[in-house]
């Protein structure tokens, strides 16, 4: 199991365990993390799974694909460390991952 901590917009931390090979969005939904809507169920088609990746993990989670960048246009308050959680794969390398959720997804 891989450890992920979600920090919501008010600063509350929620540590969860995620299965290798799943996505950060799936881990959020399974654990009823607030502030992640994931309307499209992970198809990179809704931008309601927007998260900010903790700077230390940015190199480990990789870069957004062009399709993900296009979808991020529909998110608000996008920052250089913005990602769509459904496009971040849970791998052993990202163990300890910390992501923050924005106050609103849409």
């Amino acid at each position: 199991m891989v450890h992920i901590t979600f920090i919501d917009s008010s600063g509350e931390k929620r540590p969860v365990e995620a299965e290798e090979g799943s996505t950060v969005m799936e881990a959020a939904i399974r654990n009823s993390i607030p502030e992640i809507t994931a309307e499209c169920g992970g198809a990179c088609a809704c931008a309601t799974c927007h998260v900010y990746v903790d700077e230390a993990f940015v190199p480990l989670t990789g870069e957004a694909s062009p399709q993900e960048e296009d979808m991020l246009d529909f998110a608000y308050a996008v920052q250089p460390n913005s990602r769509l959680a459904c496009q971040i794969k849970v791998t052993p390398e990202v163990d300890g991952l910390i992501v923050t959720t924005p106050a609103r997804q849409g």
């Binding site: 309307e39 809704c46 931008a47 960048e69 246009d73 106050a103 609103r104 849409g106």
Partner: protein, 345 residues
């Protein structure tokens, strides 16, 4: 002038469930009109994933969202349904009795319909523009902030800010630039999803000094009493600056919102409409709900379930439209009667 259209059935929504139901109704000689807020048929398949492959449509090992919609449209062609696009169904009024129901349906374009049954195939709700979470933006909506352009004249000689990087943002940039006092396009990155020729046309206008392009985001608004005077623009880590403007048009895509359906007197369970599983009728006789919008024990939000629900609902609709006619079950393979309707006999 209010147009009134009389028909057998009005279908709210034109997603895949609605489209296949047109076929099932057509086989039973039932005419219908479909209304959707989107400019085209196909619901989520057209709007959210036209190019993505779907693998669980029976008989299609793989078909794209757009491919499925094209096929459905071809399949229902013989029944010539009438589509009313770019219209939100706002009102649904029950006129008749439980035994002989009748309904009046109204849209925000002032079209009214009278019909004998209504099928709500509204999916996750109507596709409406996403609103950016800029503090206080509501106060400016419909006065200075618009999520769509209905009347171009409202933008003449104004300082306009458009936000976004897709086709809507670029198209309206090019359409409004000639009549604007000054137009500024704001996008979070210097890369656009829009059609390359409109991106090029925009870049030429910028190079010629006829409009501005700024890379960053809007973080706040300034103005008074709904009248916008400026937008606070922030590029990266720099401090926000104010761009003078009287009009703001943000394009952040669409999201599905239940909308007016909540006011139609239908029972709702967490924004879904409970139905029975024999005919998919709601608590109001004559109003049916199929596809993603309904709920019942075991419900799955799958396209194939919407197809099944539509075909069973059609049987009960027949009772309302033709109370005196008996329905006999027939196959399209072998019934010459059905084949005539399909124009293959």
């Amino acid at each position: 002038m209010v147009d009134n259209i009389e028909t057998d059935v009005v279908i709210v929504g034109a997603g895949p469930s609605a489209l296949f139901t047109v076929f099932e109704l057509g086989l039973l000689d039932i005419k219908c009109h479909l209304i959707d807020i989107l400019p085209r048929a196909g619901g989520q398949c057209s709007e959210l994933y036209p190019e993505k492959p779907i693998y669980d449509i029976p008989g299609h090992p793989m078909i794209t969202g757009a491919g499925l919609v094209d096929n459905l449209l071809a399949q229902i062609e013989p029944f010539r349904p009438t589509f009313h696009f770019d219209q939100l169904v706002t009102e649904l009024e029950t006129l008749g009795t439980a035994e002989a129901p009748a309904f009046r349906v109204k849209t925000d374009a002032d079209t009214t319909f009278t019909c004998k049954a209504v099928i709500v195939a509204a999916g996750g709700g109507s596709f409406l523009p996403k609103k950016p979470p800029i503090e206080g933006i509501e106060a400016y909506e419909d006065k200075s902030v618009f999520y769509a352009v209905r009347k171009m004249e409202a933008f003449r000689d104004k300082n306009i800010v458009i936000v976004g990087g897709g086709d809507s943002a670029l198209d309206w940039t090019l359409n409004l630039q000639p009549i604007a006092k000054r137009l500024t396009l704001i996008h979070r990155r210097d890369d656009f999803r829009a059609a390359p020729h409109s991106v090029n046309a925009m870049r030429e206008l910028v190079a010629a000094g006829k409009m501005d392009l700024r890379i960053g985001q809007i973080v706040g608004l300034a103005g008074d009493d709904g009248e916008l005077s400026g937008a606070h623009f922030k590029a990266g880590k720099e401090d926000a600056v104010e761009i003078a403007c009287e009009r703001l048009i943000p394009f952040f895509g669409l999201t599905m919102k239940l909308g007016p359906i909540a006011e139609w007197g239908l029972n709702l369970n967490e924004n879904l409409i409970p139905v029975d599983t024999a005919q998919f009728e709601t608590n109001v006789p004559g109003i049916f709900a199929i596809g993603d919008i309904n709920t019942y024990p075991g419900k799955l939000k799958l396209i194939l379930c919407g197809f099944h629900e539509g075909s069973l609902a059609a049987q009960k609709v027949h009772r309302y439209v033709y109370p005196d006619k008996k329905l006999t079950f027939q196959y399209t393979t072998s019934s010459t009667n059905l084949q005539k309707k399909l124009g293959v006999q």
